[in-house]
């Protein structure tokens, strides 16, 4: 059984991670690089207002900096992208292993997971790991303001655990009480509220940040759906 979980989790995880990495390069990387240009001051948001100096220089400087990021500059370029593929694969492998452990636990408790159930599990994982935390801590475009890191990590993990537990209760609980507890767990992190920065001093344009968040959630949705679907197929078809 342990081989079934490890092999299935890793295969499904790396496959979904590869898909997520492809989508990352198609939709996210240009926004990250642009956000970093604002973060480092190469570009200045709202340059016409306030005290932004030397406007004519901006467009030229922006062009140069963008080239630096895309080329083989300081840690950028090819090695940066290879690391992105590797770490996306690792992240989704972690998700895949957790998903397999969940399948096995459900089976132990008498709820055998069929191949087509995998997609539902994947969507639940997406809700727990991406969607619910993003309601309080939206994915950050570089150049955005954010609260203290430790506070955010505590809220993030608390939200993942509460949302996951709530969805499990909704799915497997029987009767009114588990459903009520699930609703409370689902709402609790958002009633408590995510940590916010004292001031909003982000230097990246909100238009860009909005696009970044929407794309991050969209890619997470696709990658988690793929992860759940593949994991379900592998789990159901592997020998026990």
């Amino acid at each position: 059984m342990i081989q079934r979980m490890l092999a299935g989790g890793l295969i499904a995880g790396f496959a979904a991670g590869l898909l997520a990495a492809l989508l990352h390069f198609a939709f996210m990387q240009e926004l990250i690089l642009l956000g970093e240009d604002y973060e480092t001051g190469v570009l200045v948001h709202f340059a016409g207002a306030g005290d932004a100096p030397a406007e004519p220089g901006h467009s030229h400087a922006a062009g140069e900096a963008a080239d630096d990021h895309g080329g083989n500059g300081d840690g950028g370029g090819a090695s940066r992208n290879v690391l992105t593929v590797l770490f996306t694969g690792l992240t989704y492998s972690g998700y895949g292993l957790l998903l397999m452990a969940g399948f096995a636990l459900a089976a132990q408790l008498g709820q055998e997971v069929r191949a087509r159930d995998g997609l539902l599990w994947g969507l639940a994982g997406y809700a727990a790991f991406h969607l619910a935390p993003a309601m309080g801590l939206p994915p950050e475009l570089p150049g955005s303001a954010a609260a203290d890191l430790t506070d955010r990590q505590i809220w993030y993990f608390g939200t993942v655990i509460a949302t996951g537990a709530a969805l499990a209760l909704f799915a497997f609980g029987r009767g009114f009480v588990p459903a009520l507890a699930a609703g409370a767990l689902l709402a609790a992190p958002h009633v408590i509220g995510a940590p916010r920065p004292d001031e909003f001093y982000g230097v990246a344009p909100p238009e860009l940040a909005g696009e970044f968040v929407a794309r991050a959630l969209g890619i997470g949705f696709v990658a988690w759906a793929a992860l759940g679907w593949i994991a379900g197929q592998l789990w159901a078809k592997a020998p026990a």
Partner: protein, 73 residues
Amino acid sequence: MREGNANAVGCDGKERHMYATTHPAAKTSTGLLSIVFVALVGATVLFVAGHAQSATLHDAAHDVRHATGFPCH
């Protein structure tokens, strides 16, 4: 089941049934252990890739952490 049956060893369908009823009890504890083990491996991989704050790991995983919505910096 039928202990006095001369055909008991492997030839009796009910005898096999005895195996089936005792097997899952032994399987459950090792099953739970391996589930906990796999879950821990998964959580560790996730933590190292997405949340550990060592400078090297942070720089290597930077773009992924931003794009995945993990708290970063």
